[in-house]
Point group: D3
Chain length 186, copies 6
């Protein structure tokens, strides 16, 4: 049953408004088990001159980029070993933790580390989850890995999950879990 | 800058309304980088007689339970080996996937499987993430494991992440990743 | 899809609010073919101190009585020949037109006129329609008549329709059509 | 005092919006005796991208045609004996009941029936009433008939009322009452 | 914390809307000590066809001119002794009261009166206050006077305050206080 | 025509809400020449749990006292020479300017100064104006003075105007103008 009105400044694209209606719809569903048709979201848009906070007219803050898209682009760049492109998506204080590793801060460290583990690896995605929490966007990507071990034997179907934190459009943290250790041990 | 008005039926508790204002605030932040003080959420509450959909007055749907609480309770019951309590939180078609296992459907299977891996295990939580997506509530719990291997040697600091899907208050799916395989291999 | 918010002063009964949500729902449907579930009506109610027009706080105007109820009560009183009760529902300048009669203003005229036509008559209702238009409430009652002709033979199933205009709770006009003339002629 | 806000999708014509504000104004007046100047109706219009129900953006449903206009056009076509035009306004399961007749379903039946009653007939309108109720639009047309009896003598001033039910722009039912039987009997 | 929505007809300029958001912000602050960032004003604008009062569509009333601007223009014209321009800003029944004078109605009276007091006078403004109250706009202008006494000696720094009432864009009343009497007496 | 909705937290008294509706009505009139009956102000009140800014529930800020009342009380205390009561209404950095005086900061200074001018003085009020501007409440009190000169001769009808600035319920500035200098000079 809930009906949501959000009041925003003019200037957001249709896609950004769709992301907003979608996020608000999911926020309602998170708490209230209303059927789909009963949740309506409406956006009131105001030109700057018709909106004042503290007596000052305001300009709309540019929408945040879709964090899932950032994560997909990053993972694609990493698979393609385009480290320059991948690096450009990271904040200066970026940190990543891979299975049973200490935190790493540079992509070159990761590449070095992986050389001792497999020749190549690719991801097949089962799904993404994204949310805002504690001041950052959080994105989960999960699915399975396939590729070649160091000895050239292929592997596939190895489950993985990556967790990302994104702030102001930059990735600040990546945590990775997967079943490679289990599989190798078999 | 966004201001959100949500129109709901009367009958939700203060806690449920807080969960709703919080979820709506996060939904806005997911798309718009507004400063905290500029995001306002207001709930209009209507008695049944002042709210009609399709010409019919409506009763509020009971709020969904907090899925993070369900997950915490479930994990606590499992740690305490209170299988009966844990089972009562699962939907009939519940399925779980643990590292390098086939899907399991009964908790007894899991207990059996774990007996071959460790004497005991406990969780320390680093954080929970929860969202609504694709018709279900999704909860992530992550942190580290400590306990005893089969030979009695202790372990701790082993990273884990659990992903849960919850529907209508029941857990329908659990996916678990952790670094046990990596650690055992070392 | 339309969502309607009506802002009213506090003080209306649940029944009056239901009549209002129902009238607003029908108003939408009159113009937009929205499915039932997509039309929501919400009433915001304000205590007098939170509502000012022209800088003056206001008291709610008492709701108008349901005009269909007035018409039913009037027709029931007439059938029971309780002319006093019926008369009390009429405005001073009340006028009625029956099939092929000149306008009448007093119920006694009607009784006199009917004596030349039948011994008794009762109504069975097929339906009522009610609306507001041109400053008055309009109510239509339709159905069939049964009773006895002057010679004692019974009749039934004779179609009728009555149109009423009601202003401020009083009936100001009644227009009657029926098939008695056709039936008698057969 | 009531103030009404209706939230609709963009795309309705000025005339359609006027019909909506008018219907909502009458809906309020049906229940609350507010003076004219105190009833305000405001329409919020949303582009599709700023409106989502169940997480889906929506297109506005085309407005229903004005049912009074349909009825006028139909009656005009019938007077002009343009049966083809009149037929096109009827739904397949159309039914009509005239004074002391069985239900008829085809306009040719009606023409045949009327040939035994008068040479010609025209309507002068005193007024129309229209509303939405029970899932259909209902239109009442009332006034007087004039024309020629079978023997060529003229008649006029014979009261009539027609009731129509319209669904999705098509007439599904017509009920007719008039004083012809009374007049002929005199 | 207060959030204000004002519903107005389309047609006001950006400047007029700014004046409105500013006046509404000040109205809130007059009663509630909310911090600046917590007071938001939003203007909903409706085309005529989407706004009806008493069932009638409406045209926006032209905004009132800024009364402070009228007062500034008037005082500037008076300083420049452009009596024609000044006169055009006065309503027919204009009245003014200067220190220890009877009410005057014509600017020529004022000029005559002042000739016995000083050769010339100019204003330096410290500030303006403007508000709406009791059906008129009220403007206060205050600051200091400088000029020459009748004997040619200069003066300056003499405090003054003028109070104006403005109705429908015309000045209807001016009341003047200043310290000239005190200063001359010293 | 404008309709104003203000969203506030629950907890304000009826009087405070009346002050708010009144201030908002005057704010509209300051810009738009709408007739009285066309300006409606409605206050939506929210319990703390249904209102969140920046994800935090809020308590209502206590309403500011009516600054005109503060000014009246202060002037009454001064007339009664209740300096203690008057002093309690002043902020520490209070400053006052009387005709042709330097700024004074203590009430005792004022009393001393006045002793050289008159034996006693009382105010008759013609009106008050109050507004919020530049971060302070501004109150104007105007009318006439009556009392006794030092030689015991009475005076009355001497015009005065006082301007006050009030911040957080304390008077921070008083500026006084009157015609005493003019009158004494006559």
């Amino acid at each position: 049953m809930p009906i949501v009105e959000a009041h925003i400044l003019e200037g957001y694209s249709a896609t950004e408004k769709s992301r907003l209606t979608s996020a608000l719809t999911n926020a309602i569903r998170f708490v209230v088990p209303a059927p789909d048709v009963a949740i309506t979201v409406m956006l009131h848009e105001y030109p700057s001159e018709a909106y004042a906070r503290g007596g000052q007219h305001r300009q709309p803050a540019p929408a945040l980029p879709d964090p899932s898209t950032i994560v997909r682009d990053y993972l694609t760049s990493m698979e393609a070993r385009d480290l320059e492109a991948a690096q450009s998506m990271l904040r200066e204080d970026f940190q990543m933790v891979f299975p049973a590793t200490d935190p790493m801060t540079r992509l070159s460290e990761l590449i070095e580390w992986s050389k001792a583990r497999y020749r190549s690896v690719k991801k097949t995605y089962d799904g993404f989850d994204a949310l805002h929490g504690n001041g950052v966007a959080v994105v989960y990507a999960r699915g399975t890995l396939h590729g070649e071990w160091l000895d050239g034997t292929p592997f596939d179907g190895i489950r993985f999950i990556d967790r990302f934190e994104i702030s102001e459009g930059k990735i600040v943290r990546q945590d990775v879990w997967n079943d490679m250790g289990e599989v190798r041990a078999q």
